[in-house]
Symmetry: C2
Subunit: 384 residues, 2 copies
């Protein structure tokens, strides 16, 4: 039986998520927005019976058993931790500390669903790619080469998308989905990273005066995954990721995996492959055309991935009679909160590398940092 | 009046260069090969009246006023320095020290032509790209993004292409042409670089037993060019270059320059552009089809560039009556030996970075290193 859904967020993702949920047969009972007005407006548009700006009103709503959280990263942890006790699908948090708190909270509810809504894993092209990698299509994986080019990620008006510390920028917004995807595809995790972030456009028509964009619009990073882990020189997989959001009017989303006997390339939502010795690429998975809602701000791979994830959620809950239970199978490939912590740790290591200019180790937090220690560090920094 | 030509080398470049020279009206009088046999064989094939394996026989040949040197990098410096006194077109040397010696030697003959045969600068797509950059098509240049993918660069049998120290590998062979091209296009030079080199395929069907490939088949590097030069964080142009030669059956040669108001992309020999605000790319320069000789080992951009360079050489020499004089105009865009030294310096900085894992500064040699000092260092290294 499908659970009733409560949705947090009134942004472009919520706007497309709700119709997708409804199309799969979920009833969306409640919508939360940061202001009463935003919530009211979108609830009316999407025919959601209840709206509010107080999070408890959704979390305590008796018909809500699945909570979907698609809000600015800096608010995610607070809502997600409170929401646990119900099944939760949520977007990435703003920091590794936030992610760690979410992991800790989720451990209290092992029987509940708690997944990060990184939807690229669910995109059919990547599902097929992973399967082919497992079957040995490319042989031993050597290099992953990813590029995402597109128009600016900034909102029309000044907000969290402009602020690096609020979780804005290409690395945090798009790079994190790629980091997650690559670990999912290769079955390995980054142990060292090197990166470079830039903000080429610091002001524009709507962000000016004393305000400046601090989030990156160009980001390049490398990840060394698996292998001996003993250095930059040997073994393992080398990933290079280029993100450039200074290219209005274009959208490139290309994930290439090169191995010892062939390669696979996902371009947009299509998958191509070439085995060594063969002449030319073969189309392995075409795109039959998108029939769902159109969303200006959301690239097609994310949109289709989101759609596939909602379908998987439906299958997962349908398998059981009781409306809070779910089957693991259909959502087994979804990223867990632990995966979310890993991704956030890599993001922060790349940012550190961009400052230090050096390769940085990826060390997953195992204990919450002492807040007093952080305070000391902050004071120390201010002194310098 | 066109000068008589002597050619050094019997490899794939010489094999295509000689017919190109002949087609432009140059007479090729002499051919040098490492063995009498190789020289004899190719001379016959290309109708060259004289062949030899002794360099002086070409350099002292009375009809030879232009010497073209396309031989393994480790031998280039020795021949090039001896050849000066005539006009010289030659391939890159193996090391920065070699390049420095060539620069020093060339300074004695300022009236003679001495250029590095990096032919990408002459490719019509890049000539047009440079012109459009100067005219402001992309606005302020932010990012250069280059990728070259193709099959293995190794020769059939064991030789210099397998040896990093002999000038083999993707970085040295292909990367150096890209480094030169990017400085030519942007009018700036790299001041800091970061790189990662890998040899994924260390042995193959013909290189086995105790022999191992030491030259890179995957190379990624970043260059920070122009700008304040004060760090990795601000100003200037950021270049990322990905070279992967583990992709048999494919050839990708893409140079993209992204600026504040648009972008230009050369794919193979064609040039595309898109200004911000326009919908879709425009084809700026197509490829009318290649009618010259086919060469298996030489990618089309290099082949067409070589052809354009030979045409420029013809125009340069035709402008004067005396067969040793030449006009600067047609070959003004050719890389000088100084440019060759810059390129070699960047190549070595990238290699250093791959070992150290750190950003390395690009410092052009101004004095020949003391050989005794080098000896001391080598001894020191052996001790460790």
């Amino acid at each position: 039986m499908l659970p009733g859904v409560g949705v947090f967020g009134t942004g472009s993702t919520s706007r497309v998520l709700v119709p997708l949920l409804q199309a799969e047969g979920f009833e969306v009972h409640a919508l939360w927005g940061r202001s009463e007005e935003e919530a009211c407006c979108l609830a009316k548009e999407l025919s959601i019976p209840f709206h509010t700006s107080r999070s408890d009103d959704v979390l305590l709503h008796q018909d809500v058993d699945l909570v979907c959280i698609y809000i600015p990263p800096s608010m995610t942890r607070q809502i997600a931790v409170k929401a646990l006790g119900k099944n939760v699908v949520c977007e990435k948090a703003a920091t590794a500390v936030d992610s760690f708190k979410m992991v800790t909270a989720a451990r209290y509810y092992p029987q509940l669903l708690s997944i990060v809504g990184n939807t690229l894993r669910f995109l059919p092209a990547f599902v097929a790619m992973r399967q082919l990698l497992v079957e040995g299509y490319v042989g031993e994986v050597q290099v992953c080469d990813v590029r995402v080019y597109g128009p600016s990620l900034l909102d029309q008006s000044y907000g969290w998308t402009c602020e690096e510390l609020m979780g804005g920028g290409g690395l945090h917004t798009v790079g994190s989905a790629i980091i997650d995807l690559l670990s999912h595809l290769t079955g390995a995790r980054a142990h060292r990273v090197h990166g470079l972030l830039r903000t080429f456009v610091q002001q524009n028509g709507s962000i000016r005066g004393i305000r400046r964009v601090t989030s990156d619009d160009f980001c390049f990073f490398q990840m060394l995954m698996g292998g001996s882990g003993s250095g930059t020189g040997s073994g393992g997989v080398c990933c290079t990721v280029t993100l450039n959001f200074n290219m209005p009017g274009s959208f490139v989303h290309e994930v290439m995996i090169v191995g010892s006997t062939g390669r696979l390339v996902a371009r947009g939502t299509e998958l191509y492959g070439q085995r060594n010795g063969c002449n030319g690429e073969e189309l392995l998975l075409g795109d039959s055309g998108w029939v769902g809602p159109e969303v200006r701000d959301m690239p097609l791979p994310h949109l289709r991935g989101l759609s596939s994830m909602v379908t998987a959620l439906r299958q997962s809950f349908q398998a059981h009679e009781e409306r809070r239970s779910w089957a693991h199978g259909p959502v087994a490939m979804a990223p867990t909160f632990e995966d979310g912590l890993y991704v956030q740790t890599v993001v922060e290591a790349v940012k550190r590398s961009s400052c230090s200019g050096e390769w940085e180790c990826v060390e997953i937090m195992t204990q919450e940092p002492d807040p007093n220690h952080n305070l000391c560090e902050a004071l120390q920094r201010n002194k310098n």
